[in-house]
Amino acid sequence: MNAELQTRQEEIVEEFSFYEDWMEKYEQLIEMGKELDALPEQSRLDEHLIRGCQSRVWLLASKDENESVRFQADSDAIITKGLVALMVRVLDGLPPKDIAESDLWFIEKIGLDKHLSPTRANGLNSMVLQMKRYGVAFQAR
């Protein structure tokens, strides 16, 4: 697996281990949401919406000059935005193949899968799926 991807996941797991309860973890997610730049209004198009989230989540991807995938994302709910920011932090700038084949073990490790209500977890799953799809698509080109 991509060494950078491993390091990023380890960093996040360490960061989240400092928090004692889930309210603090949510505070961290909210902070990450607030720090992620908002998408310009013209990019908030329905075609960029991810299905399966109760709030609206936009995800855009492009390939840069190094053949790496660059993600941009936004959401109208701040916790969801924090979640997508977390995903962008893990996968942004990696080669398409590594994104397509990524094992995102940190999600389970920090307990995100258990602590999000099923609808929200679906949103998270949809985000991961969509990002991997971009990886596959950019690999093919």
Partner: protein
């Protein structure tokens, strides 16, 4: 403020209320989505399955007769509970959604023709919108919705105006699951009947909270779900006026609903109510729903409503002090449903942080997207109260919302 109910004793009858969520005591404020179940209901199902489960209306053996007796006794409990004139006017269905689909398919297919109008309201649950849209599409008919006013009451002038278009069917909810609005169902029915429309009332949010008397309402159909009225999921009731039900053809075919089946001479159908109950019914659900309604009567429906009104008034009083908070639904006649939005904050974020504090509310559009369009909001946070909720839980909700907002804003 004191309560009209002995909530300590009531809470003791709901085992689920003892559990914790995310390490916090559960504060269950999602009654409008589904109510929790008292021991009497849980036991009724267990007892049925442990001692006399069998198929109904068929066997000559003792178990089948006992099961049939219990099943039919539950039917008569429903009959008396809602004041139906005849036992056979009570049809077991899977829930309110199933009941409305039965009417739209069985009654609707026979009576709705191209160009006809089906009148609903803008506050309807999707269950009372989509089946009519499907029927209208099939038949080339139209569905129109009566407007709502800013405070969430039904626009009666618009209702009057649209009745002049001679709708064949008028379908509306008794109590709104999102706004809490209590419609004057008797008055609306009278107006619709004067326009010679057939009337269906969705009573899902009314039956658990108030006295419902279909004879007084004088409606043609009334539906409700068991699971919102302290009963099990998968069981509900369609009340239909006998003369109308008798004239209707069945919707689903199968066992139980037949008189004689012949491959040569065709099939004749059973009498009411079995004509509309194809296949083996949800027997344990029906038995337990009967017990749920008896439980509700034992506690006192009027007291339950008074209690819920005290709780929701207190919630509105306290939440109303929060900066930027706006209630969605402030009708003068309102149930124990409190829907709100907070300026600049997504309802889902509030709901997620309440959940972390053990407080269960619902967020989103509550299966009423046309209401969200009307108010131009993505959704609301909705707290809804039942007999087992307390003023302490109202305090927990308010503190929970304040804490969430401190993190989010």
């Amino acid at each position: 403020m004191s309560s009209v109910l002995d909530t300590a004793s009531i809470r003791g009858q709901f085992p689920i209320l003892n559990r914790e969520v995310h390490g916090q005591p559960l504060v269950y404020l999602d009654h409008a989505a589904s109510s929790q179940k008292p021991i009497a209901v849980i036991e009724a199902q267990r007892e049925y399955l442990s001692h006399y489960h069998s198929n109904v209306h068929r066997g000559v053996h003792a178990l089948s007769q006992q099961a049939t007796d219990a099943f039919e006794r539950a039917r008569s409990t429903v009959q008396y509970h809602i004041g139906a004139a005849h036992l056979e006017e009570i049809i077991w269905v899977a829930g309110a959604t199933d009941g409305i689909n039965l009417v739209s398919q069985a009654w609707g297919r026979e009576h709705i023709e191209a160009g006809d109008l089906i009148l609903i309201t803008r506050m309807e649950h999707h269950a009372n919108i989509v089946p009519w849209q499907m029927l209208a599409k099939e038949k080339g008919a139209k569905v129109e919705a009566v407007n709502i006013l800013a405070d969430g009451t039904l626009d009666e002038k618009d209702f009057q105006k649209k009745l002049k278009l001679n709708p064949k069917m008028v379908a509306f909810m008794h109590v709104s699951n999102t706004l809490g609005t209590i419609n004057d169902a008797q008055r609306l029915t009278k107006m619709a009947k004067a326009a010679r429309a057939t009337v269906l009332i969705d009573g899902s949010q009314a039956l658990p909270h108030m006295m419902v008397d279909v004879a007084e309402l004088d409606c043609d159909f009334y539906v409700f779900s068991g699971h919102k009225a302290y009963g099990p999921t998968g069981i509900g009731v369609l009340y239909g006026r006998k003369s109308i039900l008798e004239a209707m053809n069945p919707w689903r075919g199968g066992g139980e609903m037949i008189d004689v089946v012949s491959l040569e001479h065709g099939t004749t159908y059973a009498e009411l109510p079995h004509k509309f109950e194809a296949g083996t019914p949800h027997i344990s659900g029906a038995v337990a729903l009967g017990v749920a309604l008896q439980w509700l009567t034992g506690v006192g429906v009027k007291s339950v409503m008074e209690h819920e009104t005290v709780l929701s008034a207190q919630a509105r009083h306290q939440l109303g002090k929060i900066d930027g908070l706006r209630f969605i639904g402030e009708a003068p006649s309102i149930s124990g449903v409190v829907s709100f939005v907070v300026e600049g904050v997504h309802p889902y974020d509030i709901g997620t942080l309440l959940d972390q504090q053990g407080i269960a509310v619902r967020t989103g559009h509550h299966c009423t997207q046309p209401i969200m369009d009307h108010y131009e909001i993505p959704g609301t946070v909705r707290a809804s109260f039942g007999a087992y909720n307390t003023l302490q839980e109202v305090d927990a909700l308010v503190q929970g919302v304040e804490r969430a907002l401190k993190m989010l804003r």
